[in-house]
Structure formats: C-alpha cells, structure tokens
Symmetry: C2
C-alpha cells in the first residue's frame, strides 16, 4: 500500500513530527535534516493520506461540484463541460480536488446529506441551481461555504458568480431593434432558472427603452435544448416575427432548423441571435450572432471564490459579475443593412 509518515521517519532516522514538518514546509527544521527527509520521501514516492490529513486538520482541500440533472441540456450544450474544465483548471492551480455530483431527483436526499454531512468537502459549487432549490437552505443552515454559478433570487445573502445576463440580453435585443427589426420574438430559458429569467428581463428592458409595446405572444419558454428551440420557433413562426432572440446558442440552432424547414431564410426573412458563443456558433449556417460569455472563466472564478470563502470564513458573500461581449456574425442581418 501507500507509504506512511512513520515509514519515512524510520528510514530518515527522525521522528514522525519532523517528517510532517518537512512535508508541510514548516520552518524550524535543520537544512540537512530537511534535505534528507525530502530525499527519502521522494524515493519512496510518498504522498500524504488525504483522509487522515482531513481528519486531523478539518480541511480536505476537496471542493464539491453539484450540477442538477434536471438541466437536461447537459447533453447537448457544451456549456457544462467548459464550465467543469474551468473549475478543475483552477483547482489544479490552487492544489484542490473536485468531487462531482450530478444530482438526480431520486437520489437528491441522499446526496444532499452526503454533500453536507460527509465532512469530505470544504465547500461546494452549485451550478445552475433552480431558484427554489431546497439544497440552498440546507447549505446555509449547515454553514458549509458555497458558491452559486448563476445569480440567485436571494441574491444578497449568498455568494455567486455570474455574467450580467440582463444587461447583455438588453444590448443584444437593442442591437436587433437598431437594425430595424420591428417584431422581435424571444425564446427564453426556463423561468425558474436565474439565467432564463435575467435574459428575459433584458429582452423586455430593451423593448421598454424603445417604447415598443410588449407582446406576450412573442415570448415562448424553451428549455435550453436544441429540440426545445426548434419547437418554440415552430410556435413563433405563424406570428410572423422578423427577428428572434434565443436565450442560448443551442436553442438558436434549433430555431434556425425550424426556420429553414419552413422555407424561410436567415437572416433575410428572419434574424436570429443566440447567447453563449459556444464553438458551434461560429460554424452554423449562417454563423450566429450571439453574446459571448466567458464560460471557462466563470468556472475558474467560482472555484477561486469558493476557496477564498473557505480560507476566510465569516467574510461577506462574494458577488461577481463577469462581462460579456456582443459577437456580431451573419445571422442577424447586420451585413444586409450596408
């Protein structure tokens, strides 16, 4: 099995404590001793036992990452993989590890207990929590540090990392209006998710700015899947919008399918814009105008924030908004105007 501290100690001719000091870079160890211990540890390929250390010190350097499986978009949208990559990347830098939970409803109870009670993780990142997710209360009561990815309705008391969804959407829709579109429809995300809600609010705000009456028929709720975007667009087509703002690229792709299937052209007959700027967005036909959000940085920042929260307990909740960028491509018809 694994080598232990005592083994190293024996071979280096020192005590357990001294080895521990060397491993943890404590001062007050003789240079020669330090070198000798290092050598032995290296040669035996020593690696401290995380469980034991965790027990002793009450800190495991493991972060939990919980992704609600109700987000069925997990499969079709590269959002989550990129997010995960950002998180693990930062964890590597900060010398932490990641424990992953995809919370299926039927195991939710068990998982919540495990996450909260196991004493295995120092804190947890919750990706795309629903507004009313019961885990949030439990987390709060338990005192376990946590960070949300995506704003929460109880915004002030919890830490979260998000992009400025409302503002970005508002800009996107304002841009569509400036291009001369009159009937701008939207395919929203689920309204019980922060991103879904905020992007929708950006849409209404943009209309309001221009004194354009809000038409509820031009709003269809999607679910962040391509299929959902496709079906939503089918419902919108008979109403004759001249532009549609989809709350995610993958839904925009679905919408474009529906539009093409109806024999219409993008952007000549219908401008389409998305949100996320996933890699695919640059390669659709026509390429998709969208909002770029720094997904990877979002994950990295969440991890960084959580670690900071763990290191400094009792500080104020951290609220971070990352900026987005409008990516103008052909699908919105910007080129046609020239």
């Amino acid at each position: 099995m694994s080598t232990t501290l005592v083994e190293i100690a024996k071979q280096a001719g020192v005590s357990r404590s001294t080895v521990s000091r060397v491993i943890n870079n404590h001062p007050n160890v003789d240079q020669a001793t330090r070198a000798r211990v290092r050598l032995v540890a290296e040669s035996l390929n020593y690696q401290p036992n995380i469980a034991a250390r965790g027990l002793a010190v009450g800190r495991t350097r493991i972060l939990g990452l919980a992704i609600p499986m109700v987000v069925s978009a997990l499969f079709s949208d590269p959002y989550f993989p990129i997010l995960i990559q950002g998180i693990t990347s930062m964890c590597n830098v900060m010398d932490h590890s990641v424990m992953l939970w995809l919370t299926e409803p039927e195991y939710e109870r068990r998982m919540v207990r495990q996450i909260l009670g196991g004493g295995m993780i120092d804190g947890v990142i919750i990706a795309s929590a629903l507004m009313n997710d019961p885990i949030l209360d439990a987390l709060d009561k338990r005192g376990l540090p946590f960070v949300l990815i995506g704003r929460h309705i109880a915004g002030d008391s919890v830490s979260y990392v998000d992009v400025d969804n409302k503002n970005a959407s508002q800009e996107m829709v304002a841009y569509l209006l400036r291009l001369g579109n009159r009937r701008v429809a939207t395919i929203t995300g689920p309204r019980n998710m922060g991103a879904g809600l905020d992007r929708f609010e950006g849409y209404t705000a943009a209309l309001h700015d221009r004194r354009i009456p809000f038409d509820p028929d031009l709003v269809v709720e999607g679910d962040f899947t391509e299929e959902g975007g496709y079906r939503a667009m089918q419902r919108l087509l008979p109403l004759g919008p001249d532009a549609v703002f989809a709350a995610s690229d993958i839904m925009a792709v679905g919408a474009m399918h529906a539009i093409h299937e109806a024999g219409l052209r993008v952007p000549e007959d219908m401008a389409v814009t998305g949100f996320d700027d996933i890699p695919l967005a640059a390669r659709t036909n026509p390429p998709l105008t969208t909002v770029r959000q720094p997904i990877q940085r979002l994950g990295a920042t969440a991890a960084e924030t959580l670690i900071d929260l763990i290191d400094h307990p009792g500080t104020q909740p951290h609220r971070v908004l990352l900026t987005t960028e409008l990516i103008i491509r052909a699908s919105c018809g910007a080129a046609l105007r020239r």
Copy 2:
C-alpha cells in the same frame, strides 16, 4: 459542525460501538436499542464522516474519474458529458461518489501522485487513455484497481469497457460499399487512441472483405473535433471520393459543412456516415447515418466493473464489449437506391 458517533451515543444512552453497529446494519443489536439509536441519529441528521471511516476501514467508496485533457473534443462532443452521467448514475445506485480529474499535461505529475497516493479513492476509471499513457504503468505498479474506457493495447492484462469499434466500423463501411459506393474515404480519430485505431481497422477490414484495394490517400487523420472533420474533408474533396466514413458524428458534421461549402450535396454527390449517434446526429441536414454506441451504458458499466474489481481484489481483469447498432438515416443515400 457535523454530529459525531459519540454525540449520538450519549443522547441514546448507549456506547459508540452500538451506534456504529446500528449505522452499519450489523446484526446482534436489540430491536429497541436499534430503533432508539436510529431515531436519535435521524433527529440529529447524523452523517458518518467519510474521511474517518475511510481511514479506519481502508475504503472510501469514492471512485476516481480521470479524463485526459488532451482530448480537446471534450468541448464540442457530448460524448464525455453523457459518459460522466452514466458513471455518476451508477455510482448513485451503488452508493459511491465520484472524484473528477481533467488531467492537464502541466499538472500530470501532481495528479498522478494524487490519484495514486492520496488513499482517497478506491479505484479509478480512465476515459480515453492514450495508448502509451504513463499513468497505466504507475497504476499497475501501485496495485490500485482501475478500469479503462476504451480498449488498450495491453488488452489482456487490464480491465476495460468498450464498444466493438472495429466490428461496428466494418459493418458501417461494408454497408456503404453495398450501396454501390466505390471510393470510400475515411476521417479517422487520433491513431494513438484505441477508438481511433479500431475504427480505422474496421474500415480496412471492410475493404479487404470486398477485395477493394486500400488507398492511403483516402485516409485522413482527424482529432474528433468538428473543425478537424471540416479540414480533413477539405483535403479529401479534391480526390473525388463518393462516400466518407467519419470516425465520429461531430467530425461528420464538420465534413458535411465542407461538402456543402464546396457546392456538393449529401448524399447525392457524397454519402456521409458518422459514429456515436449523438443527439445532434438525428437533426443534421440531412440526418446522419451512424453507429449508435451506448455511451451512458458504457459509463455505467465501467463504474460497475470497477466496483466489482474493488470488492473482489485479485480476480481476473474484466473485459467488456458492448454492442452497437447501425442507425440508417438519409446521409448515406440509402433512400436514393430504392
């Protein structure tokens, strides 16, 4: 913080040991005592400390999952999310947890040590290991149970779960040939990955079966990304193939872009087939003929196999091949023949 065994013991008026017996469902505990302890534990929301248990019993019920980040396809291909979902799903059923490592080259050394030495995980699933991945030797030497997803060249000594890539590809290409195509090209995966190699071998085997001479010019190596498929197809187009077998759906999508861009039609001018049957495959234009592999079951089986290996140390390596299914859609021109 978290409640401990002793706390429960105190409140229930029994000893630490008895509580432990109740929690672990050992026999030889009085019914009444058992009930009383259960009640107290429930009311205090007790959850055993995994680190402590792991220390004591030498088993954490945590599985490691390592995905090499060199697989850049992680971002565009839903393969990994679905795989992960299969793994976590089975872990839920089997009451295990998952620790995730996306192994970036620059942290490889640290990670390998952590995975091997930490004593934190009972075993590890390696997804899409490269043929010569150094971690495999280390794993073997260390004696930590592990399961590969994707066949390894040292096939007999290690456990793996895979689909029968060679056979499936052979069938797919044989089908293309039966449809009357004469110059069938292929876009392979990286040749240092099992899936890349096996699917290519299936291609050559199918040609061989039909006594069709192998033309190395009709083989271009891709990297399992859409971009890679696109570029590979651009290189193939001047050679005038009448069909192309891409080793993944996402590369097939890229290839179709290149074909359309060149003003050719699928399947009239060029038959295209993929591999994986990702959700997108049914919704491309035209819908993609492909090989369905049970990605989720692949992950679930890997987890199940690993847990079995952990439970019964010293048994033979497990080698599992899951079956695939040919999904005939429009992109191969099957309909044209009627």
